[in-house]
Every structure is written in C-alpha cells, then in structure tokens.
C-alpha cells in the first residue's frame, strides 16, 4: 500500500506518433518513467490513483490521429501517455471528495499510477460487491453508453424490433439485454460464429448472424426482420447502415453510437439510402455519453439490481498487464475481442 513515502518507477504506454489507417502495436510503446513519489504535491487538489483496470474503447482511435478541427475528444499527444477510461484505487488525495482507499472510475492514464489533477470527473464506486473490472464496461462508460443510447435516444416500446451491430461488444451485448428486458425482439450481428453463438445462447438475443458470411446484408436483415426494424443501435456504419436504412420501419429510430468500420479508412464509405430517412420519417441521432452524466446514478441502480437478480449477463475479454495493452486496443479493430476488452494493470 501507498504510504506517502513510497517511490516507484511508473510503467506507461505512450503514443509514439500520430497515425493514419489501422493502428499497429508499433505505434505505441511501453516505457518506464523515472522514480515518482506516491504522494499528491502540496497545494494541489489532485488525486493519485493506482490504476487497476483500463478500458479499450473504439473511440480511442480518433485520439490517435491529428485533427485540424477539434474532435469530440482531444487528440493524444505523441510521446505522452495514452489516456482512457479506467478503474483505480485512491492512493493519496488532496481533494475533499476522495480519500485513500476509495475506488473510482473515470479518465486516467495507461500507466501504473496516475496523478489526476481534475478529479471532479472521477466517479466514486458505490457498489464494490460486483467485480471492479465491470466499471470499465458494464457499469462504466460502455454500459452507460448502452443505457443512454437505448433508453434515452431510441425510446423503445415493448414489442418493437431491435437490431444491434457489433452486438457482442461491450456496448452491444448490454443493449441487447436491455432490449429483451423491455420486451423487444432483438437481433444482433457480429463477426464470427463464436460471437453469434454467444449472442443467441449467452445474451438471450432472439437471433443473430455473422455479417462476414452474408453476401447480401439487405437479404440477411430481411430474413431476420420480415416486418422491418424499429430501432437500430448503430456501432459500425458504412455498408451495414446502408442495408439497415432499406429495412427500417416507419418512425424508426437510429441511435448513432459508433461507426467502427469507418474509423481506420482514409475515405469513408458512402451511404446511399438516406432517402429512407425522409420517406420513413426516421430519426437518426448521435450522442456522446459525456453529455448525460446526470443520469449515471439511475443507470447504475437499474443495472446493478438486474445484475444481482441474474437478469443481466456480462462477458469480458481480459488482457493481463500493461505489456498487453497496445495489442488489446488494436485487437478491437480486427474484431479479436470476445466481449468487453480490458487490461488488468493490477488486481488491487
């Protein structure tokens, strides 16, 4: 345990340079810093975290490229530590809201210890009787994203037809379960037979298909939704979105959460079927969960209670150690992860 006198060398993952195209492990680097004291400097209101679990999220790809105009998240700085959502334990605090021993989640560094100079963005973890790693996913940013995107943006009704792309991922698996709890008919797409099997047999989807085995996505959707789709939870973009637009029902809703198929392309695919938005009175809406933090407690109460009742299942793909972090992040863009991808830095 930290005691204010301890000194450590701090391992950290840096972005070496801005990138274009698919990220590679060689774009990042694991380095060891000079010795640092495990103590918040005097006169500061910072919090010092020991990082336990780090979240690998597709949106982090945006931060690895240089943007001329500001993106919705700031670009990383080459040569500096990568940041992302994670779970940590407070080692020292000079902020009145946090004390040593607290568990928190929020934006932290991809390193063993992080000095958080604006701890107002950290969330103190209320329920520690569930695995703490869940706060990188089910009970953290991706789970909250699923909750807001499904309930707030899609406004689902019982009996509606729901389609989810990248459905076995951190967000998709939960959206599907929320939709089942709401009484919807739920179909997901994923990129392997193993993931499809998970959707059907572990997460309780009504149906699922492997998009890589479908020659005609429009036909696949017509097979799964002979009556059409009321709600599309969009995680992939591109050709899938184009096919979905052809299969939406009147007054359908598309929650634009992610478009992972497009993130590494220099030129994005063109989507041709936007006339459907007009003819079918579709609402397509982008959202970013940072705008909705006032709903976080509501989300946690809803989700934790159903988790404890056994009504929600959750699957993690765990990379052990910071050494594996860059590979784990990159794996997202090749669909290597099975469930929520996270990195264990330390278990307590």
């Amino acid at each position: 345990m930290a005691n204010g006198e301890a000194e450590v060398r701090n391992k950290k993952v840096l972005l070496k340079h801005f990138i274009t195209g698919f990220p590679r492990e060689s774009d990042m680097e694991l380095v060891e810093s000079d010795t640092v004291r495990l103590k918040v400097p005097e006169g500061s209101t910072a919090v010092l975290l020991k990082n336990l679990y780090l979240s690998c999220d597709p949106y982090m790809r945006f931060r690895m490229s240089k943007h001329v105009e500001p993106s919705f998240v700031p670009d990383f700085t080459p040569g500096e530590v990568i940041s992302g959502s994670g779970v940590g334990k407070v080692v020292d605090s000079k902020h009145p809201d946090f004390k040593e021993g607290d568990y928190v989640w929020g934006m932290t560094g991809w390193e063993e210890y992080s000095l958080i100079t604006s701890p107002e963005g950290l969330v103190k973890i209320k329920y520690i009787d569930v695995p703490l790693s869940y706060y990188t996913g089910l009970l953290g940013m991706p789970g909250f994203t699923a909750y807001i995107g499904f309930f707030e943006i899609c406004k689902p009704k019982q009996g509606e037809f729901v389609f989810i792309s990248a459905a076995s991922g951190a967000v998709g698996q939960l959206v599907g379960q929320y939709a089942k709890l709401t009484g919807c008919y739920v179909v997901g797409s994923a990129g392997s037979d193993e993931k499809v099997s998970l959707l059907k047999h572990k997460f309780g989807f009504d149906d699922a298909f492997n998009y890589k085995k479908e020659n005609d996505l429009d036909a696949a959707l017509k097979r799964c939704f002979p009556e059409g789709i009321d709600i599309y939870f969009e995680n992939v973009g591109g050709a899938m979105l184009d096919a979905v637009l052809l299969n939406m029902r009147l007054h359908g809703r598309i929650s634009a959460c992610g478009m992972i198929s497009q993130y590494n392309l220099e030129e994005h695919e063109g989507v041709r079927n936007l006339l459907s938005i007009l003819a079918k009175r579709i609402r397509m809406e982008g959202f970013v969960v940072f705008d909705h933090y006032h709903n976080y407690s509501e989300f946690v109460e809803y989700t934790v209670s159903r988790l404890k009742e056994g009504k929600i299942t959750y699957l993690e793909d765990v990379a052990e150690g910071l050494e594996k972090a860059s590979g784990a992040l990159i794996g997202l863009f090749y669909g290597r992860n099975l469930g929520k991808q996270l990195v264990v830095v330390a278990r307590q």
Copy 2:
C-alpha cells in the same frame, strides 16, 4: 356555375407509363374525357370540385416510378389521372362538412373537375381574403411542411445559424422567413444568380450562394458559416448534405424534408461524412407533413397574421392552363421555377 344539370368534357393529365431517370413531358398526356355530369351521384358522400390551382411538388416524382415496396405515397397508376395537392371550389356536395361554393384545398386530380370520394382529407379554406393560389404553397402543403420541419423538427432558438438548400423553392423561401422571424442567422443556396438575389433582396436572407458556381461546397459553407451550422433544412441531399455534415455544430439538427438532387438518379450518391452525426451529436430527422395535420390551424393563424402584417413575402411561378402542367412539373427537376410552381386550371 354548376347547377347539377350541367355537363362538361373534362380535360385531364395522365401518366402514360412508369418512368426511370428524369421525367419528360412525353411521359404525361393531356386528354379530354367523355362528357361528365357536374353532380355527385346519389347515395355517395363525395364532393365534386372544380379545380382552380394545382401544386407542382418534387415528391410527386416518387409516384411516377413503380415501387416494389410501398413508398410513403402510393404510386400513380399509368393511364390514369395524376393527383396532387390543389385548390378547388365545391360544385356539388353530398358530404355534411362541405357545401356548394366552399373553397377547399387537399388532394385532387390534375383535371378540370374531380369527384373526391373521401373528402375527409380536404381542408376548408378559412381565409379567402388572401390569394387562393397560396393554398397550393404558402398556406398549403409546402408552407405547412416548412412550418413543421422548422419549428417542430428543428426546434430553433434565437441566434442560431440556419442553412437552407433549394432555398428559393416553395418550402425553402418560407423556412428562411420563419427563421428570420425567430431571430436566426439565415443562409440559403439556390441554382441561379437570380434566385440568390431573390433570397437576399426579397426574402431577407442574411446571405446566399449559387451552388452551381461553387467548386467546393465545403469551402462555400465555411465562408458563410465561420462558426458552423446549428440547423440544416435539407431539401436536396447528396453532395450538399455531405458538405453540410462537415460544417454542423455540436447538437445540430437536420430536418430531412427533401432530397431533390437524388430523385432522378438510378443510384443515389454516397454520403461519406455521417461520422459527424456521432461526433457532433447531430439529430437528423425525416418527416412527412401528413403526420402533423393536428397542427394545421396553428400554422395558418401564425402565417396568415404575419402575411397580413407584411412580415412574410411569397413568390409564385405560375403556369397558365392544364396544357402547361406537365412542363411545369418537370421544370422543378431542372430548377426552372422561380418560387413556388403552380398551375392555374381556372381562376374561379
């Protein structure tokens, strides 16, 4: 005047066959029917209209092609009279809500006299102290579309930046004026310098540009909106939508009213910048005014009062006689009309 004994030959415009690509005058035909009695048959609850003004609307293009799946409006029937929104005078009525001499607007035939067997869809005209032709546009379907699309879908706030494409058309000219009345900054695009001049000098837009003279739509929008666009009233689709997406502001709204640039294309243009919807939390929403008839009175009161106060200006492009109807409709897709295109069948 009709007297129940009168008989006439009824001129009408037929669609000869379903079409692909741009419509041509030769796809339609003006014919004269056998003699018809100007009397609603006994036992019916129909209304017989003398058609005065017919509205030429871009959405009518959809009805000229055969759709395998139902479109948002039914296809026309080849060999039968074209229908559309129009203004008429009741010649005979067996419906309790209408009596001889009433002026109405609603769906009618492109012919001199129409027997309306479901007159529940007709709207009785309350204000006849404004030009009756206005009920094909300003006070009819296009005007109501502008009102719903701007106020209900875009939910504008004072000071916001509004962009309107096809801005000198029936809908666009009114959206721009509603936006000015709301205290917004308004820019429109149109396809000729004459139209651009109208936007700036007749309709009170803050700025306007001729999209045919811009090599780079993105640059044109950046010039007009250095701070970005809060509201885009979408009438054209395709390349313009793609450029707009790059220039939207956070939490922007796109009201998808029409996509006229795409209606005659066998393969629609691809829109590549949909990632903006996500990153900027944009809401893009299609709507069809038929869903909003409960707001019609509110719209008419708002618009007529401002018209009478001189706060709203309105421009019509009038084709005289059913002989000119097919050419007037086709002209929409070449941008030939200056203001709302309509056809006069009779003036009273």
